[in-house]
């Protein structure tokens, strides 16, 4: 009886769309994994991976990079912006 209730109980709740539980992807620091030691400020294409649509630097919690390399990336992006390789602000980066 009780088992049936719980059976019916769960089925009563119907979601409009299937609840999407995004599988927790283990974030890793791409620099440590690939063994990259130096972030080049002249390489715009590579730096664009760390910028969002508006050209702002992505935070570590999204990219998963370690603090040491996040500082190098931030420094390289600011140098690239100084040399007009990367824009300070834009609306359609990619």
């Amino acid at each position: 009886m009780a088992q049936e209730n719980t059976q019916r109980g769960t089925s009563e709740i119907r979601y409009l769309n299937p609840v999407s539980v995004d599988v927790k992807k283990k974030k890793y620091c791409r620099f440590k994994k690939l063994g990259i030691k130096y972030v080049d400020y002249k390489d715009g294409e590579f730096l664009k991976k760390f910028l969002n649509e508006q050209g702002k630097i992505l935070p570590r919690r999204l990219t998963g990079t370690s603090q040491k390399f996040q500082k190098k990336v931030a420094q390289a992006v600011k140098r690239a912006r100084h040399l007009a390789i990367l824009p300070f602000v834009t609306d359609c980066m990619k």
């Binding site: 030691k37 130096y38 140098r79 040399l83 990367l86």
Partner: protein, 115 residues
């Protein structure tokens, strides 16, 4: 003897000969002050990400050189004096940067040989 790397942007208004002359001038500034040029790259006319002094394109030059620290102050005053340069950046290479640029040069040189 430190390794340095400098990138500067020349205003697009000039003719090619004048642009070449600007590059030679700064090569001379470095060699006169006891520097030694390792690599000179001309990226040519490139679009700027945002307009600088109302101009949207510029000639990019990259120079890698070794030398004493005192070179940099004279080089930068030359940059500031010369109004054809609209933007410059000098950068001291640490050991990883030197390794990286050596690898990059090797890649560029063998790519140019293939063409």
């Amino acid at each position: 003897m430190n390794n340095y790397e400098t990138v500067f942007i020349v205003t697009p208004v000039l003719s090619d000969a004048q642009v070449k002359e600007v590059a030679d001038k700064f090569q001379g500034v470095i060699t006169e002050n006891g520097g030694q040029i390792v690599n000179l790259e001309n990226w040519g006319l490139k679009k700027l990400a945002y307009p600088i002094q109302k101009k949207t394109t510029g000639f990019y030059f990259l120079m890698e050189f070794t030398g004493e620290g005192s070179i940099i102050s004279t080089l930068e005053t030359q940059y500031r004096r010369d109004e054809r340069i609209i933007r410059f950046l000098t950068f001291k290479q640490d050991k990883y940067a030197v390794e990286y640029s050596a690898k990059r040069r090797a890649k560029l040189s063998n790519k140019s040989q293939e063409e």
